[in-house]
Amino acid sequence: MPISLESGLSISTITPGPSAGEDDAQVNLRQFAQFAREHEASIFTYVLRMVSSREDAEDITQEALYQAWRTWNQVDPEAAGGYVKWCYRIAHNLSIDTLRKKKPRAADDEEMERAADTKSLRPEEVYEHRVQAGQVQDCIQSLDEKYREVLILRYQEELSYEKIAEILELPVSTIETRIHRAKKMLREKLERKG
């Protein structure tokens, strides 16, 4: 389910105004509940791809929603991406924290990065044989998180480079370079797997 950052542009367009007897806090909570129900599956999918553990993904999604609520009033719903971008950003940070806590970066990853820079494995050399989506999935899971996240946001969530740049708070050129480098590392891994 690709996410739509535009869907979070204005919460007032998707929820009715206050009912009789409701104060601001209650209205906010009702709006938040609707938002959380709408987006929990897509946030969960993104986090699951990042951390590869359902248990962690469920915990992180819950924590992200909770943190999103605590900062609900600080977000400008009219800003690009609004609440959805904000929530993704929190989920992203929590995922990275979990990954770093669990698994320090392996020396192999750095080796692979260097190889991606110095070696130019052409896509036609890799994909001329039948490559299964399952193989690609395994290789994506083994990429370093900074490369995995851009591939997930680009090809799972189908976000534009600009939107990815907003979520990760990086320049568009860096996103472009990372995607390119991620693909090269992916080819290298696929080639090694044979």
């Binding site: 806090a25 359902r54 469920e58 820079d117 052409r122 989506a133 370079t177």
Partner: protein, 743 residues
């Protein structure tokens, strides 16, 4: 822009291509993504018109994008509505806020009515002012016990005074601020008492686990074991551990031999200095001793032991740095469901639940009673025999049921359980050297076939790929806390058959010498079970089993097995009740035993020792449990293996070091030095000392060994003694090593 460039990555990406590539791949990617316009787009289109390799490259890039989308397209659903719990908790908070608002209005209205009395109490209050010593900041709950004995739920911003006590129950975590800026994170099941606030805060710890972060002030903590002074700007984890009561997963792994001796009578306090420093004073050291960052001290009133810990590398040390339940407001950590798959089968109860006795011949009830009776037999041989007879009787008893009666499948599943239990009983006999492994293997194989038939799987066919979500998984996912007993009889039988089918395969793997595809098949089954049971203790158990079967798959899957064990260790048991916590501790201990064994097997002794160290960190009072003994024994064997290996490679210094360590641990003062195992180690040490040219020690060892040597060893020892005689008294290197080992 020249698109026939040799520089596919912009300069800021530090690219250093070595093979010239006439096509600028990045530019083609941009074209494919629709990110080019005007001249740049025309240039690419021109290239594509004229260059076949460029067209090929574009097709390959398109294929790559397609594969990436395909690989990432499967959408996963969380096993339950995650937002519901968050929103429910927030609604609760909101309700509390509303109630507080209403009671505030009510209080205002009656205030006038009790004005005189209030004024009186206010005057008394002014006459005896009390200064707040701290404030409750956040958390999932707790109880404040005032000096008067009155109890109140701990609420945000509530003031805490001298002589107040704070207690937390299961699932309750609280963060309080003490004095100026000291933060105390009180874990669940803890109790502390505030003593005084000036000149610096001090409190008493009665029970549980705390994290303390000091700012500009020192803080003093008193406990029966001694006094801990925490320096300014320090972060410390303090723990009054209890024996874990872990339940070993005997359904999955043979229980290690029981330990001898009793656990330490006096419970210790464990303090880990995460940053800064502390000073510990007890009866033995009343003036106090400083402990710095990266050390863990375990002390009682009379003893103290400090060891360096790897704060960054350990899987189990509580570093008090990540977000935790102490900062949560409203949401409580949840207990983990126990579905009921890990307990020993109660055949009569199961038969009742599956309707086996409803309008059926009495023989079925009799067979189930026979099986249950077999389960109670204390001797493994008797148990195996009675279970076999009960299984046969059950088969004969349900045979007359109509072919379409689902209870025939239930009966087959119960037969599978009987075979599995018989296999476990036979494994006990194998461990005692009274039975062949092949007999146990046959029992587990019979269990596997019975479960296959109960599930109506074609046993001759190739293993099926991951099946779609079974009905029992849907029923479990439908609500929180669903257990085996809540399922329909058909789903109970299917879940028991599916889970135990994988378990039977695991046992087959432990009893067969030729490993084929079974680890892969069993790993797939456990992975499916783990996903479908993810919010239960059984999900965690399936992950442990997943690691064990991956380990059997050989070196290729070793890392995946390590990942599985690490995941078990990372599971937080916050908010778990006693029964689920016991099971989780058993699974964690089994994971640590497996991890230590795995690292020892692949000769990564340092990592094996680190895994063993994690066990002592996590279960400091479990040193006499079977799991602890097993870990000790693995580390011992690994140490001797390392020593023998070092001796073989001519690394005599390392060999002497390992032999010395082993002998120090196994030959306390007064122990028999001529026991066969000790003598063998000492012969190894003698050879290493000769290699190291440490004449003095080598001659001493040779003389001691010759004194007790039997006739068969005498010739070898005399030859070694002769070699030792030729050596100089002591080399400088040997002297240094001896000093180091003595230290």
């Amino acid at each position: 822009m020249n698109i026939e460039s040799n520089n596919p990555i912009p300069p800021d990406a530090h690219a250093h291509p070595v093979s010239p590539d006439p096509i600028d791949e990045l530019q083609l990617m941009r074209y494919l993504d629709g990110r080019l316009e005007g001249a740049e787009k025309s240039a690419v289109e021109e290239l594509l018109r004229t260059s076949a390799p460029a067209r090929r490259r574009l097709d390959a890039l398109r294929e790559e994008n397609h594969l990436l989308r395909e690989a990432l397209e499967n959408i996963s659903e969380p096993s339950r509505r995650l937002s519901d719990k968050v929103v429910a908790a927030l609604h609760n908070e909101e309700r509390f806020r509303q109630q507080a608002l209403r009671s505030h209005r009510m209080r205002r209205n009656i205030l006038w009515g009790v004005g005189i009395a209030a004024s009186f109490f206010f005057c008394v209050f002014l006459m005896k002012p009390r200064e707040a010593m701290g404030t409750a900041l956040s958390g999932t709950g707790g109880t404040l016990v005032m000096s008067s004995g009155e109890r109140q739920p701990l609420a945000k911003n509530m003031n805490i005074y001298e002589h107040d006590e704070i207690t937390t129950a299961q699932g309750q975590f609280s963060r309080i601020r003490l004095g100026a800026e000291t933060l105390i994170d009180i874990d669940e099941r803890s109790r502390i008492a505030i003593e005084k606030s000036k000149p610096e805060p001090s409190f008493r710890m009665h029970q549980g686990h705390l994290g303390i972060a000091t700012a500009q002030q020192e803080v003093t903590l008193r406990a029966p074991q001694g006094t801990v002074r925490i320096a300014a700007n320090s972060v410390v984890d303090l723990w009054l551990p209890q024996p874990s009561k872990a339940e070993w997963p005997a359904w999955l792994m043979t229980q290690p031999a029981a330990a001898e001796g009793a656990a330490s009578a006096e419970p210790p306090m464990v303090a880990t200095v995460i940053s800064g420093s502390i000073s510990i004073a007890n009866e033995k050291m009343p003036e106090g001793i400083a402990i710095s960052q990266g050390n863990r001290v375990t002390f009682t009133a009379k003893e103290r032991r400090t060891r360096k810990v790897d704060l960054a590398g350990s899987r189990v040390i509580e570093t008090r740095r990540s977000t935790s339940w102490h900062t949560s407001e409203g949401i409580l950590p949840q207990d983990r469901t126990i579905i009921g798959l890990l307990e020993k089968p109660d055949f009569q109860d199961l038969g009742e639940r599956l309707g086996m006795n409803r309008n059926t011949p009495g023989a079925i009830a009799a067979a189930l009673a026979q099986l249950q009776d077999g389960m109670r037999a204390s001797s493994a041989a008797e148990r195996a025999e009675r279970l076999a007879a009960g299984q046969q009787a059950l088969r004969v008893a349900y045979e007359p049921l109509h072919a379409s009666d689902e209870r025939r499948d239930f009966g087959r599943m119960l037969e599978g359980l009987a075979h599995l239990e018989r296999g476990r009983a036979l494994m006990e006999r194998v461990a005692a050297g009274k039975e062949e492994l092949s007999t146990a293997y046959a029992a587990f194989d019979a269990a596997r076939v019975a479960f296959d038939e109960a599930l109506k799987v074609d046993v001759e066919a190739a293993p099926a790929p991951a099946a779609e979500k079974p009905e029992w998984a849907r029923q479990i996912a439908a609500g929180i806390g669903v257990t085996l007993r809540d399922l329909t009889p058909a789903n109970q039988s299917a879940l028991l058959a599916s889970f135990n089918h994988a378990v039977a395969q695991h046992w087959m793997l432990t009893t067969e010498s030729v490993i084929g595809e079974r680890p892969t098949v069993a790993a797939r089954e456990f992975e499916g079970l783990r996903n479908w049971l993810s919010r239960s203790v059984e999900g965690m158990a399936a992950r442990l089993a997943h690691g064990l079967v991956l380990q059997r798959a050989g070196s290729e899957k070793t890392q995946k097995a390590i990942d599985a064990y690490s995941e078990i260790l990372a599971v937080s048991t916050a908010g778990w009740g006693e029964p689920s916590r016991r099971l989780a501790d058993g699974l964690k201990q089994a994971a640590l035993v497996s991890l230590t064994r795995l690292y020892a097997e692949i000769q990564q002794s340092d990592k094996a020792r680190a895994a063993a160290e994690d066990f002592w960190l996590l279960y400091p009072l479990d040193s006499n449990t079977p799991a602890a003994q097993e870990i000790k024994s693995i580390i011992d064997r690994s140490q001797l293996k390392d020593a023998a290996h070092a001796l073989q490679l001519g690394r005599f210094e390392l060999a002497v070091e390992n032999y010395d360590k082993w002998l120090t641990a196994h030959t306390p003062a007064g122990a028999a030095m001529d026991a066969p195992e000790v003598a063998a180690v000492r012969v190894g040490l003698l050879k290493a000392l000769i290699g190291l040219k440490d004449g003095g020690r080598a001659r001493q060892e040779a003389a001691a060994l010759l004194k007790h040597a039997g006739a068969e060893k005498k010739a070898e020892l005399e030859k070694l003694a002769a070699e030792a005689q030729m050596l100089p008294e002591k080399t400088e290197q040997a002297l240094e090593l001896l000093k180091a080992n003595q230290r």
